[in-house]
Symmetry: C3
Subunit: 172 residues, 3 copies
């Protein structure tokens, strides 16, 4: 190999590492957009974080399929009542594993609500979250999100187990 | 173009992508320094996260202009009482949009306080945060931060709306 | 220097910047794995985030030395009772300073618990966290974590002070 070819190979390897970093950063930022979108009542912006047919299960109440369902949730009476009363949906930067054009992750979501009489917030829910993302022509998008309350239910805490671990009650 | 020139062009593009990643990472780390600085009573370190004339509005009570005001807040009786009683100012990694030497972002801040009688914390505030940062010779610094309680006030939740969205009541 | 040599030098500098970004991202992801590991009861996965002889002080109750102690904490009756009752250990992305093959950082940990009668969570602890990490042949690992409640104790809030600051009561 010529010196130029060697350097080109070095640059190609470096480009792959940069792409891996970009994937991580872009997915983390995608997650960071969810809370602000729903807490400002921006249903279309929230829906646009998903693929066209992406899914969002807010266990046990809501089973959303596709962007239309997600926007409808944000624009619906229940969520509108929440944001008019004062609330926050605050997600952590998840653990992210990228595999080519797909990725998966685990993290948490706080759902806090304002109590105007007490002048403080209360912690309505703290949930386990699992994520699947896909690389699209427009960038990374959410293909699946599952949100389940950490209320001691085994299936909910098992969502947080490391990938590859065989979990009781869940076929790997 | 020679093969060497082609490779140089590839490297230049890669360098721009690395710089974009560095900007994101540096700004996220700048935000991660705020809580530790104020909760340890390090007023000068907190102030140094801002530009010399940077602003910080803690709506509705505090309107800080410049590093001196920010350090004075940390060293003041109110904040000192908070940290001696036990508190935490915990910010999320915001959504960050970099545009050359400027950047803007949206995120959340928890303000928690220790209750020694109950032996637990309570959620005093959960706030919408908007940020403006600028690239300086010393690195990225905060030029503007606005913090407003998510108590159902429309102007406060509108702070979290995606950039470019025309919001009710706020001229774009 | 030839043009090729110049370009190689540029690529070498870029590679160092990419490595710095990878270090930051990898350490942040290591921290993001802690909560999911312990809240899913995955003691071995939690322990594997540390070096073989890494330490974890959960002040004032637990003084863990080595992976065995950390796994034993997760598998122990106290922690098992917590996760069966419903809890979350939610850590923030810390401020991270990398120095060659070592790194240190500061951040927060929420410890929330489910109250089945009230149907909400309560904030058991919000703690200052200091971290030391080391680069190993398997990647970055935790060599030391200290977790201390932000209950107004000066030594605990001093943990959050910026590196290099001389703190009252703690020899620099």
């Amino acid at each position: 190999m010529s010196e130029l070819e060697e350097l080109r190979a070095t640059v190609d390897l470096l480009a792959a590492r940069v792409r891996a970093l970009e994937d991580q950063a872009e997915i983390a930022q995608l997650v960071a957009e969810y809370g602000p979108a729903v807490d400002s009542g921006s249903g279309d912006a929230a829906a646009a974080l998903w693929t066209e047919d992406g899914t969002f299960d807010a266990i046990p109440h809501l089973r959303m399929r596709g962007r239309g369902d997600i926007a409808a949730m944000v624009h619906g009476a229940g969520h509108q009542s929440l944001i008019h009363g004062g609330c926050g949906h605050i997600l952590t930067t998840p653990h992210i594993v990228v595999d080519g054009d797909q990725a998966s992750g685990r993290g948490y979501a706080f759902h806090v609500r304002w109590d105007p009489d007490a002048g403080r917030f209360w912690l309505f829910r703290v949930s386990a979250n699992t994520w699947r993302w896909v690389r699209t022509a427009q960038g990374w998008r959410i293909s699946e999100r599952i949100n389940a309350n950490l209320d001691g239910t085994q299936e909910h805490r098992d969502m947080l187990a490391p990938p590859g671990r065989t979990m009781k009650g869940i076929t790997p």
